[in-house]
Assembly symmetry: C2
Homo-oligomer: 355 residues x 2
């Protein structure tokens, strides 16, 4: 057989199991799902219905355009928009009953002029990440009436992937102190990593993202999540190469012996980072195969001299249960998030859903 298109398997069962596992870990909190960035690339219209099946009714997105897509498949859900409301999104908020996360005094002023019936926004406060959020002075400037506008108090941890990082203690202290100024609000502080920091960090709602998608963002923690994404790519050609030949762009790799190479039909257009060159790996059964030369847009070359059983037309594993997005991220000098983002958004691979 001859194939040229890579295949991305999205295991929605694994996603649901991950969600339910995390829910057990935070049993007293609402477990919202973070589905921004097209559900980390996996597809909002695919991921949201799957999560609704296991009881999720609260979704976080970054932008209102994403919220509109969540609304189309979740008519009754609470949909929170992290980057907030503004001139370029107010109509989408109205039409789709989206809940803005308000992060600046200017945005709050905008909200007061553009309130939406039945919607109570979330107040994002800055506690140490130094990203978006009301600073303490901004919170202090709110009147008692203004404080009643909000439903939730929200912040975000900078170092939740390192359980003993001083920043976690600093941020929860700041959060709890600022919470005293807004005693009637419910609160949400933690994303996936924060869930593992214990009940104190879980508050009324947690926002599950990375871990739910199978990523392990804390290298010191054993990954209990199941891989949601599997990627395989077809071998288009196997060729013998003499000693002293060059392989790939820039002639950057020179062979030191006769070798057998495989040309695999996947490249950085399919979301693999170019920085894998010299460091990347693919797999055939339990055999590890090293990438050689530069990764190009549509192909990679690898050394199959000693690989048994691999023939043209067969598929190699690019991401599987044993070599995950986190592992590829480590090889490429980045993190699993960025791998997932690239691979899932390539727009070229054939996507198969496992439900």
């Amino acid at each position: 057989m001859i194939y040229s298109q890579s295949v991305l398997l999205i295991d929605l069962n694994a996603l649901k199991e991950n969600y339910l596992f995390l829910k057990q870990t935070a049993p007293n909190s609402i477990c919202a799902a973070v589905v921004k960035n097209n559900a980390y690339g996996l597809g909002i219209e695919r991921v949201v219905p799957a999560l609704r099946e296991v009881g999720c009714n609260d979704f976080f997105v970054a932008l209102a355009v994403e919220g509109e897509r969540v609304r189309s498949v979740a008519p009754q859900a609470n949909i929170y928009v992290l980057q907030g409301i503004g001139d370029d999104s107010v109509k989408l908020f109205q039409d789709n009953k989206l809940i803005p996360v308000i992060s600046t005094p200017a945005m709050f002023k905008f909200w007061m002029k553009n309130k939406i019936d039945g919607i109570k926004p979330v107040l994002n406060i800055e506690t140490g990440l130094n990203r978006l959020g009301f600073r303490k002075k901004d919170v202090m400037a709110l009147t008692e009436d203004e404080k009643k506008e909000f439903s939730y108090l929200l912040s975000h941890l900078a170092c939740a992937d390192e359980p003993y990082h001083f920043m976690n203690r600093h941020q929860i202290k700041e959060f709890d102190e600022m919470k005293k100024m807004l005693p009637n609000l419910k609160s949400t502080l933690s994303a996936s990593d924060g869930v593992f920091l214990g009940e104190n960090f879980q508050k009324d709602m947690v926002r599950l993202g990375a871990a739910m998608y199978g990523l392990n963002t804390a290298p010191d923690r054993q990954n209990k999540m199941k891989a949601v994404v599997h990627l395989k790519a077809p071998v288009l050609q196997i060729a013998n190469v003499s000693d002293g030949e060059y392989i790939g762009y820039g002639a950057s790799y020179k062979t030191k012996k006769e070798m057998k190479i495989a040309i695999v039909s996947i490249g950085y257009a399919d979301g693999l980072p170019r920085s894998l060159m010299g460091r990347g790996r693919v797999f055939f059964l339990d055999q590890e195969i090293r990438l050689i030369g530069r990764l190009s847009m549509d192909n990679l070359m690898c050394d199959v001299t000693d690989v048994k059983g691999l023939k043209e037309g067969m598929f190699v594993d690019v991401l599987n249960n044993h070599y995950t997005a986190d592992d590829m991220g480590a090889d490429a000098g980045t993190i699993g998030y960025e791998i997932l983002n690239g691979v899932c958004k390539s727009g070229r691979v054939q996507i198969i859903e496992k439900k």
Copy 2:
């Protein structure tokens, strides 16, 4: 005003001008356009009609699924598929009259069993890149009748971005020698970079890709191309930060003085590489602004302490005529191709076409 969505401007006039400039550089060759990978991310349905307006009638894609999309907007064009034909694509070839590039003896055998009326495939030969292609022994094994199956002989240069690289001389020698075995075929050897190597490399057809999209893949060559892609992102918040505070995930950046930071609504979900951290820049008017801390999924932070005139709600330039995808690639330790790929495929930015 308050905005949260980034804006990507695609300048189709610049694209057309680049095409016409390259056509002048290779006046005796057919100038095909490489529109694989969704036209390097810019959108097949947007790019192909623009190029047809300036007379382009030959298009190269990597996969048949891409060829189908080209056919939908170019009913009469010649559409070549670089990764070739196989079991997973034969129907698309038939339905859309696609022309396969044949790279292996097994694929040629497949073609002979699945020929399509009126279509003559391209023969890809390996001349030094050691990627896909017939090796010399494979060409020698073709019968005279089999040779008549093909329309074009194709190869691809490994080091065309370095005009004096020995590999260019090696490859053209190999190509011209193997061409003697197939004297009746037309030939195509060069992509954008090869065009600049002179008439000898231009043959009957050149395949314009990177340069047409405004990329300068040869750093030693002055870039005569116009930037096709411009990206800007809104400032959501400007905040004062004290001496000794931490900024961003992992608390990786510690301030050494009081400073003013801007939180800009763009991140790696929008295709910026995480490896920009510590090295990336954005621009406001002619002022350069340094990124600080880690780039996150939806936001970046930057130092605007000394920046004049920038206010919340304004936009900063992320890619423009003076800081191109190539420049960002250099800052991020990669190449402009990968930047274009990431930014254009993010699926979240608002796209505006300039025609």
